[in-house]
Amino acid sequence: MYVYDQYDHQMLADRVAQFRDQTNRFLDGKLSDSEFLPLRLQNGLYVQRLAPMLRIAVPYGMLSAKQLRKLGLIAREFDKGYGHFTTRQNIQFNWPALEDVPDILAHLAEVEMHAIQTSGNCIRNTTTDQFAGVAVDELEDARPYCEIIRQWSTFHPEFAFLPRKFKIAVCGTKIDQAATQVHDIGIYLTKNAAGEVGFRILAGGGLGRTPVIGVEIFDFVEKAHLLTALEAIMRVYNREGRRDNKYKARIKILVKETGVEAFREKVMHEWAQVKNGAQTLTDDEINRCKSFFTAPDYAALEDNPAALSDPLGSDALFASWVDQNVTPHKQPGYAIVTVCLKETGVAPGDVTDTQLDHIADLAEEFSYGEVRVTHHQNVVLADVRQDQLYTLWKKLNQQSLASDNLGLLTDMICCPGGDYCALANAKSIPIAESIQREFPDINELKQLGNIRINISGCMNACGHHHVGNIGILGVDKKGEEFYQVSLGGSSQHEASLGKIIGPSFSQEEIPAVVHKLIEVFKANRHGDEEFLSTYQRIGIEPFKEKVYAKAD
């Protein structure tokens, strides 16, 4: 994990002091609401329905045990005892008092954390695959490059007031778990013909009101030129992105309106000016950042030890959890564990202060003191010995953290929605819960295989509904909450955007609608085909017919 040096620490201390001063000036009436707005947003602070909401950055999802405990403390002392993991691998607190925020930031700074640029029209937290560094199918660990981008984008003076928010993802694995193609900039580690590793860079992807899959701007950029290539794209966007209409201000609209060829030409022109300049990365810097993400001191172990295979044979609940929540690790004798935070009755992504402490303890005991947050709002213990999986599972169970529904229908992505968010048109958490209650049987869920349901409470698409196999979007119709359902979305390597099946439904209808969709899937499924494949094969019509059929 990256470790701060005196420069990083100084930067955070300066930020805390700056924000304390800004907050005081606001409370004294010296800063207007509209002037304070971007300042607080760039510190992750929203003013929400019930209280302010503070979004804390978790750079590319990495958290240490010490940081988890600090988050637990913040949940306890400044919130109502829980936090919420977001689809940007961040964590947010829904109940802090405005005047406490500078103190919370000071607490965070002690453990090398902050809320910098977690909101506002600037470059947001860079995300990556939660299995970076341990995945079997990885070309190279993406995290050193995420850290390089994090530093470059932090307080970048030229790009603090962009037309709109800006999100970057980096992916180093074959199976894309970072939804890279629906980012403003998506970066894939790739090899060129000469066998050198560099970057393929897409731009203009995004969700929100107009979902778009990004287009290739650079087919191969050498590592040294990563930042200058990004700077070139950013400058074209900052200069030419639309500022007349908030809903047309993302880079995807600029790329579309300019035309891909013309946009690429502008970027290349800009790149020619900055390429080989001071921002050109040095081998020293790349190696320095890589040195923070080296493999831990793994023991020499065999796969499938008796300490794993014995309880697998004797404890069906454990076996079910391993089957669903444990992923192969590149190191023999180790496993990747995903703690699924989608227990029925708990808002997706929510964790309590005691769970945070508990996860910290488990990280220390079983996984070198580190965890990763996933954009599916779950938590990963990346380096667990296979012979300790059973002990770990038992301890997870004690804290209601052994939910064995990872990747299944009930492991939904869900934004906070109308219960908390001032932007939402409709609630989303109760929708998630009503669907979970409709499918209580884990065996049935397992038989259905991987199905991704994503729920957003409004067009801003924090719940990534466009890329859900089943997407649910809350809409407002004359003051009443309705839900639009789409099918066929995916954020995997062959990303696709869902298609709306027809008129929207009331909250009460949704569980039955999902049930009907699943019945169609079951009736048409070949073997153990996944929902998405069945959908792609039979198309939207059979689903439509079933859902909108008149009762006889």
Binding site: D5, Y7, Q10, M11, D14, R15, Q18, Q22, L31, E35, P38, L39, N121, I148, Q151, W152, T154, F155, H156, P157, E158, F159, A160, F161, L162, P163, R235, N238, R239, R243, Q273, V274, G277, A278, Q279, L281, T282, D284, E285, R288
Partner: protein, 166 residues
Amino acid sequence: MPKLIRNGEIVDDHWSVLKEATGPEVLTTVPGKNFIAPLKFWKFYGNELQDYYGEKALWLDSDEDVNDIGDLLNDMPIIALNFPVFSDGRAYSKARELREKFGYQGEIRAIGDVLRDQIYFMSRCGFDAFALRHDQDAEACLQAFNDFHTGYQASVVEPTPLFRRR
């Protein structure tokens, strides 16, 4: 006399900014004044300006392109960049382009909605003069230059990025 921050000090501002809608007659009404005229004014009334004996400079609005300044750049003592609202960030790129692409050495002045909390970023992009919005406390704004000890990126004031200095 309005106050200006220039090179980190509060000084009197001897320049007037001409609004866009102004015609060339303005040059005769107040002879000898120092004018910062919009780029369009320079394009339309370049000759009248050349004959005018006061000091003159140029300002660019946020939707205008620095490339359009053309040869005028060479003898401009000031290029002012307008912030119609403080949250319009286009002038940050313009300032950097003027310094880094065109090698412009004269004063780059922020005009319009210029507030304390943006001064640090502006200065890193190459602005060295700040015509503050009327309600801003100039003394307080001076502190903005020290908001951060250093930055990660290459910038006009720190051309070497932190990773080359660590």
